[in-house]
Each structure stands twice: as C-alpha cells, then as structure tokens.
C-alpha cells in the first residue's frame, strides 16, 4: 500500500507496478557496506532491490524513448523540476497514489520559500539513500537533467543510471563544468545507461525522488541525516510527504506520529500539519461531526468546527505543498460537499490564481451544482489561464505564438517533457468540463469544435479522462449515454489491464457515478452482462466493501445529496454483496 510503481523520469513511460511491498518484507541480504554509510537503503530493502532493477529495465525496454532534440523555444523555460514531477505523478491517471514520494534537493546553494521545496546538504551521505528506480536530478550548474538509478555498487563505488540521453550526455568527459567523465553503456536493444563513480555522482547529484520503500527509506534517512531529525523544516517535509499519499494508512501513521510526538510544541508548521491531517482524515470526511481520533465532539459543534476549518484555509494556502492542497480539494469534492469544496478552492486561488487544476476543479463543482452559466465562465477562465501559462513555458512572444507553437509541436513536447504532460491533461480536462457546461446550459449547443481537437490525444481518451467523459455523457445523453460509455470501457478489459492505477481511477469515477447519479439496478436492467464484467469486482465492489467512503453521505449532514445517495449507496452495497 505504501510503495509506488515505477514512474520513469522519462515521459510517457508509465510502468507496471512493482510488488516491492511484499518483496521488501522478505528481508535484507548482505550487500557490501559503503564507506560513507552506516546503513544503506539498498540493504534495507534487501532482495527487493534486484526485483526493482529488473522491473525497471523490463519497463524501459518496452518504452524506449526517442531522443529528439530539445526545441530552443522551451530549452530554458519548461518547468522540469521536482515539484512539477510530483504534480505529474499526482495527476497521472495511470498512477495509483498510494505511495509516498520523497523529493529533496541537495546543495547548500539552494534556497526557496516554496513549501514544495526541501533542501538537504549535498555530500556523500546521499549515496546511502539510492536504490534502483530512484529519480536523480543531475546538474553541473549549467545543464540540468533527470535520470533513474539502475544499480548501486558499493564495492566498486559506482552507480549505473538508466538514461535515454546517455550517449549524448553532458556528463561525458569534457562536456560539463563539474569535470565529470561518465562512461556510457550502450548495448543494442537495451536502455542506454551511464556509469559514474561515487565521487563523480556526489559532484553532480542535486536532487532525488524516492517513491519506493516508504518507511524503510525514512528509517535510513533519519539515521543518515541524524543531525537534521529534530529540525522543524525536515520534519515538515517528511510528514507532509507522508500525508500527501492518497491512502489512509500512511496518512494516519503521519498523523499519529505528529499527535503523539511532544516534538511539535513550538513548531507552528508541524501544528498546522497536524490540523491538516485531522481535517483530511476525519473532520472533512465526517462532515465535521468528529473532531479528532478519540475526540468525538458533539454534533452541535459541527458548525463551529467547520468555521474553524475555513479559518485555517488561508494558512494552508501559504504553507502547504501543492499535492496536499489538491488532495484536500479532492477529498471535499468526493464527499460532494460543494460549498466546502468551493470555499477551499477560493481560499487557495489567491495564492496561486493561475493554477489551472484548481480553476477546473472549481468549474466541475459549479457544473455539479447545475450553475451552468458560472461553470461556462469558470472553464473559460481556466482556458485563459492555461494559455497564459503556456506563454511562460514556451519562450515566444506574443503569447499567441506560444499557443500556436504548442499545438504545432504537441506530440514532441509531451513526449519530451513531463511538464507538458500536465499541460495536456489540464487542457483536456478543462475542455471536457467546458463542453459539459455548454450542454448543461443548452443541450442544443454544438460542442464539436471544442471536442474535436482532443481526438489528437495520443493516449486513450476513453480511460484517461473517464470521470470527465462520464459527466459529459450524463449531461448530454442521460443514463443511456453514460451507461454506453461505461460499457465501452468495461468491454475492453485490455485497457484496464494496463495499470492498477488506471483501474483505481476508473473504479473511483464509476463508484461516484453509482452513488450519486444512476442506480446500479438501472445498469443491470439495461445491460444484464454488467455484473459479470471482468473488472467489476476489483474496481468497484472491493471499494464498496473496504472503503468507509461507501458510507460517505451518511456521515455528511451538510451534503445535499445525502438522502438520494443513501439509497443509491445501499443499492450498490446489495449489488456487490450478492456476489453476482
């Protein structure tokens, strides 16, 4: 539950998940100890390291990336940085967000006031924390690059990176300002690789993202950076990354540690984080009827607790990393507490008024509230901000040229830069929402011009934007069209085979649909095959059985949909309990 699938540093490489969680439990082998390390992450995860390396190579063999030249127009302006990579992972429909990503910049020269940036010193200690599939940010001060660790050899004191640019790498002799002379490993049919000595890597490693190993990684990190353990910024970083996992278990673990540790006294950022943990885990989820674990407040105090929550939002807007803010919006939206969702978004937007995800989420709430005209305007504003954001990513003036350049070179940009993946997803989500809002306002509106350009999407439009399409179909064609969309996806189990993340994503949207809009009984009536689709059990019924969210509206006295959804939820429960 607390591990991540391989997500390549390269784009369009969403990989098969690793069963590292199980493997990590098998126990550590005895790799050669590093001179620099009392303890290494590789030793901590044991045999799993080899499995991770094998899976990484297997995945990369499948998705060999073409190394097209970087367009000059985006060479210095594309946002390829650690916070952006985390955003990609948070928004990627193929990624199950039940693993923690620990992103850290390395180097005393780095400073940032952003809550999305955390910095540790760049020294040999980082060598203790590497493992296969760790993303590394490499820089000589002039050229910057991302690659992934394939293996760490503490005996030979070398690291092998997988890097599609290895043969052209700036880390080859004479091509960099760090005086590093990396050795490319080029074997036909294999992903390109680059070998660096430990001393070379320490010169150029400026950041890492570790998304595997969870608690084991943290244990090693705490040990290796023992001198940082009690620092507020370090603790904020560690706990905020645990809380960013879209899964109750690590969130609860972080909340428990924060709550039980006397360490947070006099540390305002940690106190705020504990409030956030209680908000996302308990207060929002209970419609503010419960205050904290073991503190079941009086229902009469619901309004007061809600008010206090709203008062905290401006502080959250300033202090929390983007993923935590995004998860809070999603949590409130998933409980269909529209007023609360709008209040959260409206508190966050003043800090980041051009955040297209927040703007689009706001449009979706308005759409759900059937405020068609404001929803249309909201999506239009999202589109304006999206275009304006493009002109910051593409170095062309006037901004209209940047937009033209994006559409003319979209495929190469999305393939070459993770930040452009977010750009594309944001735009498609916005356009689908916009079309739905137009149709909700007037069913006769022609939305073809809005939707046609989306057909150029290289991925699977049906699955990757399933929630937005389901909404669109529901508004446009009602139950029949919505059900037709669901049927067409379930009729293609090979689409869902692709990743567990995608199954979770589709399942979540289907669950939402069946507890808020359309009865599962209607589904079965229209399509008797429905109970027997291959993925019904795993994507839908497992969720209904396991997640307290299946009772979501019962806990939410303020939710307008409560009564209607209670009936739909009960139908769904009976359907799943029947075993089909």
């Amino acid at each position: 539950m607390f591990n991540r699938p391989i997500r390549s540093a390269y784009t369009n490489v969403s990989a098969a998940p690793l069963a590292i969680g199980v493997l990590a439990l098998l126990g550590a082998t005895t790799p050669v100890a590093a001179q620099e390390c009392k303890r290494t992450f590789v030793a901590e995860i044991g045999d799993a390291a080899q499995s991770m390396e094998d899976s990484l190579l297997q995945t990369l063999r499948k998705f060999q990336k073409s190394t097209t030249p970087i367009p000059r127009e985006v060479a210095d302006t594309a946002q390829e940085n650690l916070p952006q990579l985390l955003k990609v992972r948070a928004l990627d429909p193929h990624t199950r967000h039940d693993f923690a990503n620990f992103d850290v910049y390395l180097g005393s020269e780095y400073r940032s006031s952003s809550p999305d940036v955390f910095v540790l010193p760049r020294d040999a200690r980082v060598l203790c924390l590497l493992a296969p599939s760790t993303t590394v940010f490499l820089s000589d001060g002039h050229i910057h690059h991302y690659a992934m660790v394939r293996s760490v050899d503490y005996a030979a004191r070398t690291v092998i990176l997988v890097d599609p640019w290895a043969s052209d790498s700036f880390l080859l002799a004479g091509r960099n300002l760090a005086r590093v002379a990396g050795r490319p490993i080029i074997v036909a049919g294999e992903p390109q690789q680059l070998e660096l000595r430990f001393d070379e890597l320490v010169k150029v490693i400026h950041g890492t993202i570790t998304g595997t190993g969870g608690y084991k990684y943290l244990a090693v990190l705490d040990d290796v950076f023992n001198d940082y353990r009690s620092q507020e910024s370090y603790q904020f970083w560690k706990f905020s990354r645990l809380l960013a996992v879209d899964d109750g278990e690590p969130q609860a673990y972080a909340a428990t540690l924060l709550r039980t540790s006397g360490d947070i006294v006099g540390k305002p950022s940690l106190q705020l984080l504990l409030e956030y943990a209680n908000d996302i885990l308990i207060r929002v989820a209970s419609g503010f009827s419960i205050d904290a674990p073991g503190v079941p407040g009086k229902v009469s105090e619901t309004k007061k607790r809600r008010k206090l929550f709203l008062q905290r939002l401006p502080a959250y807007a300033k202090a929390l990393p983007w993923v935590l803010k995004w998860n809070l919006i999603k949590k409130a939206a998933s409980f269909h507490d529209d007023g609360l969702t709008l209040a959260i978004i409206d508190s966050f937007l003043p800090e980041t008024p051009n955040d297209v995800e927040f703007l689009t989420a706001r449009g979706q709430v308005l759409l759900r509230q059937k405020q068609s005209e404001p929803a249309v305007k909201q999506f239009e504003e999202g589109e304006r901000q999206w275009r304006s954001g493009l002109s910051e990513l593409i170095d062309l003036k006037p901004p209209s040229r940047a937009v033209e350049f994006y559409f003319a070179n979209k495929e190469a940009l999305v393939e070459g830069f993770e930040s452009f993946q977010v750009v594309e997803w944001s735009h498609i989500r916005n356009r689908l929402g916009y079309a739905a809002a137009l149709l909700q306002r007037d069913r006769r509106t022609q939305v073809r011009n809005t939707l046609d350009p989306l057909l150029k999407y290289k991925g699977n439009l049906m699955t990757d934007f399933f929630p937005e399409q389901l909404t669109l179909m529901w508004i446009w064609g009602g139950p029949a069209e919505a059900q037709a969309l669901v049927k067409s996806v379930l009729d293609h189990p090979e689409w869902l085979d692709e990743s567990e993340g995608l199954q979770w994503y589709i399942g979540h949207a289907l669950f939402e649909h069946l507890v808020t809009r359309q009865s599962v009984k209607d589904f079965v009536k229209q399509d008797p095959k429905f109970p027997r689709y291959e993925y019904i059990e795993s994507i839908l019924c497992t969720r209904v059985k396991n997640e307290p969210a299946s009772d979501l509206f019962i806990y939410c006295p303020t939710c307008k949909l409560r009564d209607a959804s209670e009936r739909l939820t009960n139908d769904l429960k009976s359907f799943c309990a029947a075993g089909r």
């Binding site: 302006t77 940085n81 910049y105 820089s139 050229i143 002799a173 300002l177």
Partner: protein, 209 residues
C-alpha cells in the same frame, strides 16, 4: 588650480604643434581601426539558471557562480580577409570585500532538466586567475579542449571572408571555482592584411562565495 588660464595650458601644446609643422615631424599615427568588431551581446549575457544578477552600485552587474554569454565577432569591412588568431581569457581576482547585497542562492525550481550536452558551446571553469579548463563542444558533440588562456582550441579556425561569411557568434558558459570576485575580459587577436589587431570586451564579473 583656481585662476589658471587656458592659455597657460595651451602654450606648450601650440609650441609642440609648431615644432611638428616646421621640423617636418608629423603627429603620431592613430591606431589603425580594427576591421573586426568583437563584443559580448548584452541580451545573451545572463546568469546561470536559478540565479539572479547581483547589482553592486560601484561595480555594476556581478554574476554569481558563473555567466552565460555570447561573443559576437563581425567583420566591419567586407572587402578584407580577417583571421582570428586567439581569444585570450584575461581573468583577475579582485581584492574586494563582498557587500551584503552579494548574498545569493539558487532557486532549484528554475533549473529545467534535459540531458544532452549543448552543441556549439564553450565551457570554461576558472580555478583562479592563472588556470582554467576550457572545452568546446561541436555540432556532433565532439569535445575540443583548449589551453588556457586561449579560448580557441588549436583545431578551431575562425576566418572572415566572402566564402566563410562575415559573422560568428560564440556561445559560452564561464564558471568560477575560486572563492571571491573574478573580473574577466576577452581579448580578441586578429590579423588582416598582415596587420595584427587586439580588441577587448567589456569586463564580466563573477562572484563565488
């Protein structure tokens, strides 16, 4: 000096001119105008990504850690053949105490990551004002090392004529490993019609803490 007239100063000057004229001695020749224009392009002279320029009221712009720049060489006279002999890097460590406004930090989110080496680019790392390592990466990403203080590798010929063209832009990144303030000028030596010319760029200043 207060009260001293202009005539007092002009007197010896006039005498000198009279001597020049009546003794057949001509005035000293003004240095021949170089047929090559060499200058650093202001718009292309930028700090490293993630850093901002330090503005010092006495010294002007200072680049923390390093600087990216473009040296533009252009033939001023299309009828002449010009050969660039060398581009001498002339660094000097200045004994200046860093002001409080010289504090700098790198914003890591402003360092976009790509990967491949940058073609047609010089990279220079100064270890002080007496040594530096210099490399040029060509179109095919081959590395051509040069020997300090000459920026140009032995196998890189820059010539301006009707066949080779009349303009060349050299992109470079200059970084200092030495703590302190390093002032750098580029001195371009060229030959045309058997006459040697030397031109210096405006100085660049790099500060490393």
């Amino acid at each position: 000096v207060a009260g001293r007239s202009h005539i007092d100063i002009a007197g010896p000057f006039l005498l000198l001119m009279v001597l020049f004229i009546f003794c057949g001695i001509g005035p000293p020749p003004s240095p021949a105008k170089s047929p090559l224009i060499a200058k650093l392009i202001t718009d292309e002279t930028r700090p490293l990504q993630g850093l901002t320029i330090i503005r010092d009221p006495r010294l002007g712009p200072i680049f923390p850690v390093g600087v990216r720049t473009r040296l533009q060489l252009q033939a001023a006279d299309a009828t002449k053949i010009i050969q660039v002999d060398r581009i001498r890097l002339a660094p000097a460590m200045l004994a200046v105490t860093a002001g409080p406004q010289w504090a700098y930090a790198v914003d890591p989110t402003k360092q976009p990551g790509f990967g491949a080496a940058k073609p047609r680019n010089f990279s220079v790392i100064f270890d002080g004002d007496t040594t530096a390592s210099i490399n040029y990466v060509d179109d095919q990403l081959n590395v051509h090392p040069a020997s300090f203080p000459n920026l140009l590798p032995n196998d890189l010929l820059i010539r301006f004529d009707a066949q080779s063209g009349f303009q060349e832009a050299l992109d470079m990144v200059l970084m200092s490993n030495a703590v302190g303030l390093l002032e750098l000028t580029l001195q371009v030596s060229s030959t045309s019609a058997g006459v040697q010319y030397v031109q210096s760029t405006d100085p660049l200043r790099i500060y490393k803490r």
